[in-house]
């Protein structure tokens, strides 16, 4: 019996595709954000509000992943920016090869900002690098403030937590400060923005975060 030591990532195939994407984003000056959260936490609603607030000439595109249907791409396609659905047909997350395939031959020019809405799930997307600049976790006010403790992986890997549906705070027993403390117990550096896609509250702060992230990535701020 011989033991052969290995020093490699389990997902090295995915990581190779992610490295390819990262290089592609660098060459095109694209900031890529990977948006992750449980089903129905408001990812598409947030992106709809975001697209609606954008300069119509902004170079923005969205990829959205779901197990079935192109409902989200239809919602996101109404704002004049390219939006494309990835249906995984069962997979509970997007992987880098799916992004490579979807991007190939899709956009006619470079974009400054690419949003990827991941499949609704707080666990599985955590493991997959999509070549993004940052993972962003969306937690809605109706989900319970203990979620960062129950699903630490995604909070650990995210640069930003978007606390969504804050218009519901008066109606649900949700301690927003405790939710933030719980997220920071897992990841002390995580930043937080609070938004409501229904009222538009906090969308400015979210757009400012994106602009700051662009300049932190050494990209031109448009």
């Amino acid at each position: 019996m011989t033991r052969v030591p290995l020093e490699q990532k389990v997902l090295s195939e995915n990581d190779r595709a992610a490295a390819e994407l990262r290089e592609q984003f660098r060459a095109s000056g694209t900031l890529c954000l990977n948006i992750i959260g449980s089903p129905g936490c408001g990812k598409t609603a947030l992106l709809e509000k975001t697209l609606a607030a954008m300069d119509p000439y902004a170079r923005v595109a969205v990829l959205t992943g779901d197990i079935q249907t192109d409902a989200d791409a239809q919602r996101l396609g109404r704002y004049g920016f390219p939006a494309r659905q990835i249906t995984t047909g069962g997979a509970c997350h997007l992987d880098a090869r799916m992004i490579v395939r979807s991007l190939s031959g899709w956009l006619t020019g470079d974009v400054d900002l690419l949003f990827i809405e991941n499949v609704g799930n707080l666990v599985c997307p955590t493991s997959y690098d999509l070549g993004e600049h940052a993972k962003i976790v969306v937690l809605s006010a109706a989900e319970g403030e203990e979620k960062p403790l129950k699903y630490p992986g995604i909070f650990y890997k995210s640069e930003l937590m978007v606390l969504s549906k804050v218009d519901l705070l008066p109606y649900v027993p949700f301690d927003r400060e405790l939710a933030i403390r719980n997220a920071r117990a897992t990841n002390p550096a995580i930043e937080v923005v609070e938004v409501s896609a229904t009222t538009g509250q906090g969308i400015d702060g979210w757009l400012q975060w994106i602009a700051r992230r662009r300049s932190a990535a050494g990209l031109r701020v448009s």
């Binding site: 019996m1 011989t2 052969v4 290995l6 389990v10 997902l11 997979a91 493991s127 997959y128 630490p152």
Partner: protein, 82 residues
């Protein structure tokens, strides 16, 4: 449930490595998983067994070690050489 996909990635890596040792048969693979990796160990073990059987590698064992933070790494494979 992405553990099945992860199990398949492990099997793929084992096959690639074993192919470098002609005649040898992989009997065990060691994987290290950190608490932030977002991978359930029990579910991964279950999926690994199922995926290995499907691929005709039923004799291949998976050994999981406790890793740090979000580690999800292959550590070793054990080969039975003729």
């Amino acid at each position: 449930m992405h553990e099945f996909g992860i199990a398949q990635s492990i099997l793929e890596a084992v096959r690639t490595e074993a192919a470098k040792h002609p005649g040898a048969r992989a009997v065990k693979v060691g994987v290290r998983i950190g608490p932030m990796a977002g991978v359930d160990r029990e579910s991964l073990s279950f999926c690994f067994q199922a995926a290995a059987e499907m691929d005709g590698d039923a004799g291949l064992a998976l050994e999981l070690e406790e890793g740090a933070s979000d580690e999800l790494d292959l550590k070793y494979i054990e080969l039975e050489e003729p």
